[in-house]
Symmetry: C5
Subunit: 316 residues, 5 copies
């Protein structure tokens, strides 16, 4: 856990928290990674957080939302990480007071580490920045993580479209389902987050000054772009699924044509053999000197002719 | 039937009800399980409930809703139970007055039993709690029952996605339809319940104090999560249905390729037999000492070659 | 035609109408079954109805709606009847004034007959009831007719789901389309009727007193339930349609596997016959005493083995 | 071109227009068929129309809309005509001032001709009618043209449902696509027109008196009916498309069953012939006096038995 | 880079910009093509643009939007170009002040070139035109580029519908997917642009005078037409995709019927050969003088008969 009093950032122990909170003129950021229930309870008590909000933090799995309490906001937001080619959402629970921000998350998040780093480096320069700017830089870093994931999906989705010619491969099928699941995951997170942003912007009286508002408006636009893009790709993927089905059926046509063509050729050859296997007394060809080669030649000739015909009508 | 005057909870007889109601300073909870029409009428008379609301209780099958009457609310809500792997919805009809809550339901519900238990245990401590807290704890317990059902559906839905490789099994098909039916059942209940919650929260003048409002807002968020999740899984299931169709068609491709390949091999063998069954006078092979084994060898050779070819192009 | 002055209901002749209308203190209900254009014109003149509304009555086929005129409402509503297993909608056109209700419909409707009966029986008791209660009891009776139709559809829809195992029967297909058509019919009626009810409830200044409003709110809830249910079943039916397609494809897989298996068995037998039909000079089996039974036995053995194999891999 | 001063309708020359416009107490209707760019410019100048609106007239292909200018409305509306079984939309551009209406359209429209006729015939009687009534009668006539088109589509759509049993005929497919295209055409016109009507009705201050408003409300209802109906049929057609696909697949099942059954029968016969074509020395049947007829009889018997079996399991 | 002071348009160097800006009575247009980060920063500094907006310009890929800043608007809009049969969107970033417009875009755009040309030519005449007219002519030119693209898509979409008879060609499939992707691209741009236009029109206090408002209303209508058209074609294309699948399946039916018919014919011929290949001692035909031709004739007769039958039932 590291907290960031708005002087030089310092790693603070839990015990010194109460002291820090009372200093109203500095901006405090308390970031808690993988908290135990006891720590949550302890910090909640210190800041007088509502039991319901603390329960949400402890349980996790909340929908992105903003709950307004008397003198602070409780915000649930998500970051995205890709590990081992699987995209996962990571919950960040944020308490935003007038002079402090408290964040809880289960494990280290690159976005938060990076913000903390910047905050630490520029502590002096950021000194006169409000808690609103702090919140913005956090949410901005989280949302920025969505775009590489979307780009990745875009690329895989386009590959799928090209691979559609390899109709009906089970792996392709599985890939479509997987992509769809990831898009739904992002949709499920980004949709409510857009609403959260809308609430933060439109709240009356306004939460932040007009200078900060511009930045939150910008974030709102980013989230609109995310949900737009997700909807576009969901639409594309369902077309791809349909197109894949058509391709599978088309491939069946091709296979049936080809195989049945071969059957017909083989059956034709078989008929020639059958004919010269008949036991009629009077069958002139049977007594010919070159009867046998003639029959074999006939078989080859018929087969060749049929191959030609089937080729011309596009079945072979 | 047990009623809970806001002193120590006590099992009260129907006859004593009128007496209890007059005590305005205590919170009363009357819970009626599997009421007969007469009991409904009797209690309705005692509390002066509107005939329309009583008719709804007697008939059942109502849509989740909140009807506002002069000095009480009539709320219809649903719990979910899973029995024998089938998810079922259980109606709870709630009359909420200033100082009392009356609940009707057809059979025992775990959620209600548990609330009653807690209420009984903490009667003294809860003594100064309002009827709003009572309502919240009831609805909260009912909604909490949704999540294990959803988790169950989530698990079965993911199993389905993996089982898709066993394309087109009728049981799989039936499972998808069953899951879909359950999701629609939950959707049908949770959607209007979300609206009920919205009405309870936004009513002007407010029904409850701001302290209680926070809890109802929390319930509202839970119901949003339920409907979100249901929509996600409906979407996934319809993809799974589509993917399943593609897999069935793909499987047909595989089957057709394999079976027709075998046919072609057998027909090729048959042709060799046919050729040496021809009755030409001059067929040198027929007189060979090893002609017969040669022919059999030829058959094996051709079959082996064809198996090789079909394997290489992926049809066997 | 029977009109119901709010004393004892009496069958009134068209001629006496003008007289009745002038009595402002009684509630009059004029119910016209299968009116001729002249009767419509005549009654319209008597009550000073707007030509547009009268034209709607004469033409029929209107969308459910409520049109507000200076001192009366023109309401179009529908009942449902099932005859010969086909569900049909029946238009009822209603003029609602301060002291009268005039209804037009093409043929006798059970719902209206029943209301008239009740009205007649209780005329004295209902004497002080307003025209609002009369309208409510009429619309309520009409909407109550929807539920048995929906129950019927629900039952047939569930039967369909079970019948899906009989994949692809044309009758099944037709049944799905028929059910869908009926659902659309109900949707088309119930959706706008819900809006009508909304207009009646929310109109400002209110059309009816708060005592009557409760009843219309109840009707509104019923219509919500109807549209909810219709949407659920439309959704289910489209899944059933999709599932049916999968089942048809799956059945094709089964058929192809089975039939081609038989082909392969027959071809194998044929090859044995072909081999012993070859004319090689040196074929030891041909001269065996038990060669012929041996060949037949070989055929049976191979066929049996193949049946076994195909059974084990699930193709027979 | 004919203009209709609100005295007796008279065919007026373009030159006299300026004179007519100045008479404020009469209602003028100028109807221009197939105007040249010069005529549009000329008339536009006369009435002081905005260049943007005139450009819309000249270009055509506008979306139905109503644009409000200082002292007139510019309305784009569409009629429908069926010619050679193809439904086509015809644009009518309307300028509506306080005392005049100017209409532009590319070719003669039955609806407009009919209105002009009625206007001419009743000029005296209509003398005191406002421009609002004129607009209403025009739009009403245009919208009335939609219903026969919809009825035609309804009939063809129901025919399609019955024809579905002739699964997969390419003509059927094409017909579905054609119907869908026509529905989309109507939807594209009727949807925005409904909005136009809404704007005309709700405009504040109101465009027309309350007496005229009733008529526009009626038109609005008609357009609601049109869009409702279109949506119903689009829904039905997409079901029909799905059902058709199922039927095609089902038909394939039937075909495969039948054809493969015949193959199996023929192969069985072939095996008998193959057996008696074997060259075993000891084959008693070969020496029987009635061996040959016996073999043929055996073939017939086996074929008959198989036909019986396939019939019983429903494959033939 | 060329800037257009509202005297004669002149190519201005970046250095002279500061001077120009101070002249409040002229309208300045600064158009920057393919700016370097430094140029963006430089110009941004000159005009005091907000860092967030400048970052959007530098990064690109923004969603169409309008952001309001204290004394200017930041607008993101898109043009469309077709090159090598692929439709591409080109971002244009616009800063709109009271007396100036600054535009940034990555490469030359025909629409902008054309506006600049017109502006230059008519500089004197346009002298007293406001910055609103300048913005309108720019956006109008951009939106006008959408219609040829849509017409192109319309034509290709109709070709697709006709080509559907060539069921299941992979190229057709790919073309459908490509068209869909392009429609989604346009939808993604035109949808938010419609909202931008709405914001520009409805802003309170109004951004432009009522004379200019008419033109923006007109642009709004154009964008409505674009989104309408895109939605219609998306709908049509998804029908085409479905219809294509049906056609592929139908084609399979045809192929299976035809090929299996041929198989049956060949098998029938084969059976005749098989029969006369049997080794019965007493087979009268074998000793006939014309037995062999008789057998061949029998084969031809049976084959002809079968061809006839299959033709009559429509399988050949």
């Amino acid at each position: 856990m590291h907290s960031s009093p708005n002087g030089p950032v310092s790693e603070t122990r839990l015990e010194d928290l109460s002291e820090l909170i009372t200093e109203k003129q500095t901006t405090i950021w308390v970031d808690v990674v993988g908290p135990t229930p006891e720590e949550i309870a302890r910090i909640g008590e210190e800041f007088h957080f509502h039991p319901l909000a603390l329960e949400d933090v402890a349980r996790g799995g909340q929908r992105p939302k903003v709950d307004q309490y008397d003198d602070y906001q409780f915000i649930v937001f998500y970051g995205l990480t890709i590990s081992a080619d699987r995209c996962q959402s990571r919950e960040v629970d944020i308490f935003l007071g007038k002079h402090y921000m408290v964040t809880f998350h289960a494990s280290d998040l690159p976005a938060i580490a990076q913000i903390a780093e910047r905050w630490r480096a520029n502590a002096a320069k950021l000194g006169n920045h409000s808690v609103g700017f702090l919140l913005h830089s956090l949410l901005d870093a989280l949302v920025d993580e969505y775009f590489p994931v979307l780009d990745d999906i875009a690329e895989r989705s386009e590959n799928l479209e090209e691979a559609i010619i390899l109709a009906g491969q089970p792996t392709l099928q599985a890939e479509i389902l997987r992509l769809r699941r990831e898009l739904l995951l992002i949709r499920r997170v980004a949709g409510p987050e857009r609403d959260v942003m809308n609430v933060l912007i439109r709240r009356d009286p306004p939460l932040f000054g007009s200078k900060e508002m511009v930045y939150f408006q910008d974030l709102f636009d980013h989230l609109l772009r995310v949900t737009d893009t997700v909807d576009i790709y969901r639409d594309m993927l369902s077309s791809v699924l349909d197109a894949n089905l058509s391709m599978v059926s088309y491939t069946l046509n091709v296979v049936v044509k080809r195989l049945t063509s071969y059957s017909i050729i083989l059956m034709s050859i078989s008929i020639i053999a059958g004919i010269y296997g008949m036991n009629f007394v009077y069958m002139p060809e049977l007594d010919w000197r070159w009867g046998y080669p003639f029959a074999l030649g006939l078989m080859v000739a018929i087969a060749t002719a049929e191959v030609g015909i089937f080729r011309r009508i596009g079945w072979l």
